[in-house]
Amino acid sequence: MRTEMPLSKPIRRLLTQTEELLDTEISLLRQPEAEPGGTLVDKYTYDIDTNVIIFPAQYVGLLKDFIIAKHCTFLLIKGAAAEKKEYRVCSYTRDSVYNGMRQIYIDALKDEAKKENKLPVQKLIQMLFILFTHFNDDINEIPWNAINNASVYHRMPKIRKTQLYHIMKESKNDMDEMMEQESIVPRRYFVLNKAMFYARDMFLAKTLPADELMPVLNIPQMKKFNHLEVKEMLTTRWTHTAWYQSKVFGDNMLEIIDKPLGLVRWNEPPSLDYFYDLYKVGRLVTDNLLSYMTMREWFVWETPKHILDAHDNNKAYERDALKKIFGDLITDTLEDA
């Protein structure tokens, strides 16, 4: 472990345990502009020798500890799968991009037919791939986020209050995402996207018992949540979003997440086999969510290198898909762009 900062005992123990189980090294890096939730740069995803957990420089105490705990858990899951040569992520190919963009286009046309203010064609075309990659990012994030949080909750009881704050903050940011584009994005995708986050939040609200997480902290901004349990806090928020009318999708997704995760024994002694089992559960949840959203043809389980290459080629994939969807009609537009 390479670090130049004080760390609480449970975090030091977790870091050492992770390094020993995976026979690897973890560095901690403070960066002023780091993502609020931190970033994990790991050797199972990138062609590097060590693993780095990056977090915002202003996090000096327990906020930093929680970020480390969360990313260590994900590193263990990735590492355990990689040890078995089975670590895969949801990637995309030329063909799968076409499948996704075509489906979005068809749904967008249905929406546009009912609208008074039609979306300019150019914007509609641009939206197809943006929305596709948005779902790719989210499906690679949400199931693992739920698993990592549940695992940290059970294994690190001393940082539960910190965890609560992180969840509240993350939930707020995710809820705000896409709101500005609500009138542009086809209704179906707006609802599905929000439903995934709702389901994750409700799963966490269910997993994290209220009595231990009651925000007794003396913080003015948190006062409004006093005497509310986590579930109530998150539900209260969700009922205020424009999305709430389509709650049924979120509840179905909650069931999809909750079913396999409800069977996990979170306090089992940590071993590579245990974390490999968590990896398999994450894949199952991902597959089930994709099936529910009818997106199985959009993505493929592939190596991390595959998705990095796909990102490099994404412009070409987008162009080819547009040509296949619109034929000659699109050529002029693409050349203009």
Binding site: E4, P6, G61, L63, Y165, L217, I219
Partner: protein
């Protein structure tokens, strides 16, 4: 009052330290200290760089010098507690961190180091109180930073 030139040198040093250019930062701090050896703030700044570069004994020396000049410097007590933590002198670190947080109740690092050291010596309940205080302050700072971002 510290010499104007020394303050300017310290400011330049800090701008390098922020970008983790520690060698350059130390060069400016050294000059400032030579120019005005009775300027405690720059000693504390140099101690911070020493801590970031793993030179905990040097950091401790600078903190002690700064405290000899100004015994009420909460920053000096805070850095001292950190240096002592790294040197695994937990009981002394607890004393320094307690002093730092008494002088400045908003010292997030001070409260956190206090929590870590109390935990090290087996005073778990007191550690939880210190951690709680540190978290409370950290969250307030984080919420303020977020609102600033939104305003921008």
């Amino acid at each position: 009052m510290p010499l104007k030139e020394a303050v300017e040198l310290a400011r330049k040093g800090s701008s390098y330290a922020k970008r983790t250019k520690y060698r350059e930062a130390l060069a400016y701090y050294d000059k400032a200290i030579t120019l005005d050896p009775k300027y405690p703030d720059v000693l504390v700044l140099r101690a911070a760089v020493y801590i970031d570069t793993g030179k905990y004994r040097e950091a401790l020396l600078d903190c002690n010098k700064a405290l000899a000049l100004n015994p009420n410097s909460s920053e000096a007590w805070s850095r001292k507690s950190l240096a002592l933590f790294y040197l695994e002198q937990y009981d002394e670190a607890i004393l320094a961190a307690t002093r730092a947080t008494t002088l400045n109740g908003n010292d997030v690092t001070g409260w956190y180091v206090l929590g870590v050291c109390l935990e090290e010596v087996g005073r778990a309940d007191e550690a939880q109180v210190a951690y709680g205080k540190s978290l409370e302050l950290e969250i307030i700072l984080d919420i303020q930073a977020e609102s600033k971002k939104v305003r921008k």
